[in-house]
């Protein structure tokens, strides 16, 4: 893909380029001689050659699958069988599928449980590591380590930590509380998975908040101090308003990610989703019904469409909450 661009020789000015590209340049901008537009002359096809690899990958593996998911949702396609149009049958089936409601419930609970923690805790953490005191670079890096690790590593570490005979239960037993079935009870399992998600996300959002905190003018804090506001008061009257747009961004990123949770629950509850599948999330359900040689591509696509719709709705909801606070 590179060869067609190279041939124009280095030593002679690119005459042919110029001739070919001038009309194109005139069409887009009508200021001849303006700098920044002269520079844009090139072989007529070179922009597309530059963009081709990216467009090809993104088109084949993102945009095309997106549209084909939308289409498949209205067919009874299976992995090895081309489907036929079935109208809304998949969606009618969804309404009566208990597992779908279980998945929707768990993914929604995940958003409600994880997002507040991921909006607030990383902000507090960022405030903790904001001052340039000795050794702070080490702490910042250490707090980021869980972000770097694969979710599989993180999941397995916590499966072992929370095991019936693992570290946490050993400690709980030693202090006389007794064992807790973190990985056997349906609700505790979901809660444990949420904790792991929060644990892994803390460092990431901490870095985002750190950038936002750097932009809060010191004078605001000082003025509040002079007025006699304590640390808690200053947090709510100075820090929070100053980083509010970042909190909205974090809320949007975290809620979309939380609704699509898969790996944590898959690793901690197992492929079948915990006791009686009660911990199945929506993406786990897509993976379960849509893959393999007998995968129901059509039905899994219908669930995916629900995921698209909720994801967009969550984004709009968060952005709307932002605007309301403005008013």
């Amino acid at each position: 893909m590179k060869t067609p661009v190279v041939p124009s020789p280095t030593d002679s000015p690119p005459r042919r380029d110029t001739v070919a590209a001038v009309p194109a340049a005139r069409r887009t901008r009508s200021g001849p001689g303006r700098s920044g537009h002269r520079i844009s002359r090139h072989l007529p096809f070179s922009p597309w050659l530059f963009a081709a690899p990216g467009l090809l990958v993104v088109g084949t593996f993102s945009l095309f699958p997106f549209f084909s998911t939308l289409v498949n949702a209205f067919t009874d396609r299976r992995t090895l069988m081309p489907g036929k149009f079935v109208g809304l049958a998949n969606f009618r089936e969804l309404i009566h599928d208990d597992m779908f409601w279980t998945g929707l419930r768990n993914s929604t609970l995940y958003v409600l449980g994880v997002v507040p923690a991921l909006v607030i805790l990383p902000l507090l953490l960022a405030m903790l590591v904001q001052r340039h005191i000795p050794g702070i670079a080490f702490f910042r890096s250490a707090f980021y380590t869980p972000v770097v690790a694969s979710i599989v590593v993180v999941g397995l570490i916590w499966v072992w930590m929370l095991d019936d005979r693992g570290l946490i239960n050993a400690v709980l037993e030693a202090v006389g509380i007794g064992k807790v079935g973190f990985l056997s009870d349906q609700w505790l399992l979901l809660f444990s998975a949420m904790t792991v998600t929060v644990w892994k996300g803390l460092g990431y959002y901490m870095i985002i908040y750190l950038a936002a905190l750097a932009n809060v003018p010191r004078e605001l804090h000082e003025a509040a101090s002079v007025d006699g506001a304590g640390a808690v008061r200053r947090f709510f009257t100075v820090t929070v308003p100053a980083v509010r747009s970042t909190m909205v961004l974090v809320g949007a990123l975290a809620s979309v990610a939380a609704f699509k949770v898969f790996s944590e629950v898959y690793l901690m509850a197992g492929p079948s989703g915990g006791p009686a599948g009660e911990d199945t999330t929506l993406v786990m359900l897509v993976q379960r019904v849509g893959t393999g040689l007998t995968g129901r591509v059509g039905y899994a696509s219908a669930i995916s469409v629900v995921i698209f719709v909720v994801t967009v709705a969550l984004m709009l909801l968060v952005l709307r909450a932002d605007r309301k606070e403005d008013a």
Partner: protein
């Protein structure tokens, strides 16, 4: 008067008790974030004769041994899996750097009909949630005959839309004058891209490379779907398999997870600033 006097940005002293409180909190969070990794490391170094379930727990291995690392390789071909992960991650770095630099340059620095449409295609692709299209990606991959291959693992993320947009932004921020001078000197578009523009965006390119490596090395859902033959597993899928099949041997799982996480921790320790920079740039875009 303490010997060590800590001052804030304005040169005023921070009271000692507040400094102490801050360090106590920092150490508490440190124990929470790094502790679980150390516990896993400790478990992986405990020999078969040592009780790993003791209560109260023993934090340090009594007789540290690398025995579990040899045994995990007998149980699953963990080094082959690591090699597969390394292949996919390395290829992902190359394809993402080349593909997103080329496309980013075309979006930022060239003028042609359809540039807006091309930009829009990448923006839309970035917004599509991967989890929602994996089944369609899987059927596409089957039709291409690439399921159950490492190429199949690599392809969907080989030029990530977000990286293209990151590179586009980087190129947009370059002053036009430099390239203009090269143009006057007779450099063609390819030469200007390779020798003038690309060296100026090395920082962003490094961010793209690091996140491409980390993304491929850590990925779980997509390889889980596209790979079915244990011979082609990547490390994350191999670990999941190990956990599912030999769940009762915690020492082996611990050794496997340490093998999977250590390269990234080393990478992170060496190239921290690019990791942090990537979070900032990615969040603004994402």
């Amino acid at each position: 008067m303490s010997i060590l006097t800590i001052t804030d940005a304005e040169g005023r002293r921070i009271p000692a008790w507040r400094l102490l409180l801050r360090y106590v909190l920092l150490l508490a969070v440190l124990a929470l974030t790094v502790g679980p990794f150390l516990w896993q490391l400790s478990t992986s170094l405990k020999g078969p004769g040592e009780d790993i379930f003791s209560s109260p727990p023993s934090f340090l291995p009594g007789h540290p041994t690398l025995d579990n690392y040899a045994r995990v390789a007998d149980t699953i071909p963990v080094w082959d899996y690591a090699l597969n992960s390394l292949k996919v991650a390395t290829a992902n770095v190359v394809t993402n750097c080349v593909g997103s630099a080329l496309a980013g340059y075309a979006l930022a620095r060239m003028r042609y009909r359809g540039r807006r449409a091309a930009t829009l295609a990448f923006v839309l692709a970035m917004l599509v949630p991967v989890e929602g299209i994996i089944i369609a990606q899987f059927t596409t991959m089957r039709e291409l005959g690439l399921n159950n291959t490492l190429i199949g693992v690599l392809l969907p993320g080989s030029v990530a839309a977000m990286n293209v947009l990151l590179m586009r932004n980087a190129f947009l921020n370059l002053p036009h004058e430099v390239e203009e001078a090269a143009f006057v000197d007779g450099a063609n578009v390819w030469q200007r891209f390779l020798w003038i523009a690309l060296p100026s965006v090395r920082g962003t390119l490094a961010v793209v490379a690091i996140f491409a490596f980390m993304g491929a090395w850590d990925d779980f859902l997509w390889p889980l779907i596209v790979l079915s033959d244990p011979g082609n597993f990547t490390l994350t899928i191999g670990l999941n398999y190990l956990h599912g099949t030999f769940a009762n041997d915690e020492r082996l799982v611990a050794a496997g997870t340490i093998i999977a996480v250590l390269p990234l921790i080393v990478l992170f320790a060496c190239l921290q600033r690019f990791f942090f920079r990537g979070v900032g740039e990615g969040a603004v875009k994402g």
